[in-house]
């Protein structure tokens, strides 16, 4: 038995802190929540209003632009058609909307943070353990306070997803920039390139494969959060998996599960293809 006099608990302190946050800054969080909700509801509305054939054509177009090959493009379109065929089209669009918003926020946060962390070893030393925590902390732990701050539904689901999905993008952006050849950096420095020219002319383009691998990882991790997100009231494919579990309807759960896998495969192939830069592809 661990001696009693050495024990302590941070639970009360954390509770007080979160309570304080909710009472004093509730309005601010409500506002953030409303803005986000507005964005995602509109995106979802747009995706669901788009006729299915137009959607398939669009995805097909993007897939062809990314891969420049017919077989993967047709497989991607075919798989999505299959999801529609089992009656999950609407839910697929809801999940897609959630994922797109979560990925967009992750990119907006992740890439700048990755760039800063590549620039400063000190920031990196602080950031990396924090990212470890974000990735390993069981998501239910931060779901509770997020729920208290933002209420039930899509918005907390997005926040939980971003916390879980942004770290790999930050890491891979940092890595990609740090891996740019030292002599190339020295050379452009010797020709008097300023920071802006270094970043946008050389570092980001050369780090692009790594950054796209990060975006790919982020989307994959966002998808893996879909079921958990549905537990706090986000609609979509995860909801069907959840209902499948609750009603012991294995078939329904499997259908939705496979639809999630298909969405993952589609996004994975497209982002990976963009990660291979043009002249590498020609090598």
């Amino acid at each position: 038995m661990f001696p009693e006099r050495f024990t302590f608990s941070i639970a009360d302190w954390v509770n007080a802190w979160v309570d304080n946050l909710v009472t004093n800054y509730g309005d601010v969080f409500r506002q953030i929540s409303d803005t986000l909700l507005w964005a995602i509801v509109n995106l979802e509305g747009l995706l669901r209003a788009t006729p299915w054939w137009l959607m398939l054509a669009l995805v097909g177009g993007i897939a062809w632009h990314a891969t420049r090959r017919w077989v993967p493009t047709l497989v991607i379109v075919g798989l999505l058609f299959l999801v529609g065929a089992v009656g999950l089209w609407d839910k697929l669009m809801q999940t897609l909307a959630l994922m797109l918003v979560a990925t967009l926020i992750s990119v907006l946060i992740g890439i700048p943070l990755g760039i800063l962390s590549a620039r400063s070893d000190r920031l990196r030393a602080v950031l990396m353990p924090l990212l470890d925590i974000m990735q390993t902390m069981p998501s239910f732990v931060y779901l509770i306070p997020v729920l208290m701050l933002f209420g039930l539904g899509k918005v907390p689901a997005i926040f939980a997803t971003v916390i879980y999905a942004a770290p790999p993008l930050i890491r891979l952006t940092d890595l990609g920039i740090r891996q740019v050849d030292r002599e190339v950096m020295e050379a452009i420095n010797a020709f008097g390139a300023n920071r802006w020219q270094q970043l946008f002319g050389v570092q980001l383009p050369l780090a692009l494969p790594s950054i796209m691998a990060g975006v790919n990882q982020t989307t994959m991790m966002a998808l893996s959060m879909v079921v958990i997100a549905s537990m706090i009231g986000a609609r979509g494919l995860g909801e069907d998996v959840l209902v499948g579990i609750q009603t012991l309807n294995v078939g329904r759960g499997l259908e939705a599960g496979l639809a999630i896998v298909i969405l993952a495969v589609v996004i994975d192939r497209i982002t990976q293809a963009y990660g291979r830069s043009r002249h590498q592809a020609s090598q």
């Binding site: 050849d181 002599e183 050379a187 020709f191 008097g192 050389v202 050369l206 090598q283």
Partner: protein, 276 residues
């Protein structure tokens, strides 16, 4: 030998200490302690040790030494890719250590360019864009960039390769791109850090030939780093020999070959004679 020209680059008592305690190390080395003693006492490495030099306008000045002698460190002081721990560096009589970031950028854009041992080309840009890089960075118009870059690509013998990417070229061709990039920037001074060392002997001889040919019409101030005495003698108007960050001897190739200052220089010369 050319007459005494105007000095283009002058450095006075330059020290460069790498490590966490440069002040302590600097004090020790100025009291005459050796590089090894400084390393043992402070953990700092002495890169350049009390070096003074003057490089004339329009000459090819070769800095020679074994690896670790501080020659690549020294040449990076001339465009401040490395800042000295102590000392003065004057280019055209101006103290470049006083430059702020903006002035330094301007200096690098207009007055000094560099060719690197492993080329330092941008892998995601075509030969044309690589050669035009210096011009683009300083904000020249697209037409000027294109015109100048094409001119220098032709001059170094790479016509027809403008649209290729660096990875599609051989080592010798890549270094021609590096050379064209430095020439296109149209600076008075060109630093060449072991520019030909990574090339095989025949291509290397070609490149030396080409450099000498170009220099006849261009009259740039070229600071050339090498570890090869043959190369130094072949292209240098004057040669400086470095050891452990210290200057051992400066002179014309003739002086180096016939009156080596000490045993270290003599060993270089003997090896060359043995090779011949």
């Amino acid at each position: 030998m050319r007459g005494e020209q105007v000095s283009k680059i002058v450095i006075k008592h330059v020290f460069k200490i790498f490590g966490a305690r440069p002040d302590a190390a600097l004090a020790m080395i100025q009291q005459g302690q050796s590089k090894d003693q400084v390393l043992a006492a402070t953990g700092c490495v002495v890169g350049v040790n009390d070096l003074s030099l003057s490089i004339g306008a329009g000459e090819i000045f070769v800095i020679m030494g074994l690896s670790g002698s501080g020659k690549s460190t020294l040449v990076r002081h001339f465009n401040r890719l490395i800042d000295p721990t102590s000392g003065e560096i004057l280019v055209d009589g101006e103290d470049i250590l006083r430059y702020d970031r903006e002035a330094l950028r301007n200096f690098r854009r207009r007055k000094i360019s560099m060719v690197f041992q492993s080329f330092g080309l941008l892998p995601h840009k075509s030969v044309l864009d690589n050669v035009a890089y210096g011009l683009k960075v300083r904000g020249e118009s697209k037409a000027v960039c294109q015109e100048r870059a094409l001119h220098w690509i032709t001059t170094v013998g790479l016509k027809g390769y403008e649209k290729s990417y660096p990875h599609q070229l051989s080592g010798g061709m890549r270094q021609r791109v590096g050379l064209a990039r430095a020439l296109a920037a149209d600076t008075d001074i060109i630093l060449m850090d072991e520019a030909f060392s990574a090339l095989d002997p025949l291509i290397r001889a070609d490149m030396q030939e080409q450099l000498l040919g170009l220099q006849q019409s261009l009259h740039k101030t070229i600071v050339f780093i090498t570890h090869d005495l043959d190369e130094a003698v072949r292209i240098g108007n004057r040669i400086a020999i470095l050891k452990d960050g210290q200057l051992i001897q400066v002179g014309t190739p003739k002086e180096i070959l016939h009156q080596p200052a000490d045993e270290y220089v003599d060993r270089f010369v003997q090896r060359r004679v043995a090779n011949v």
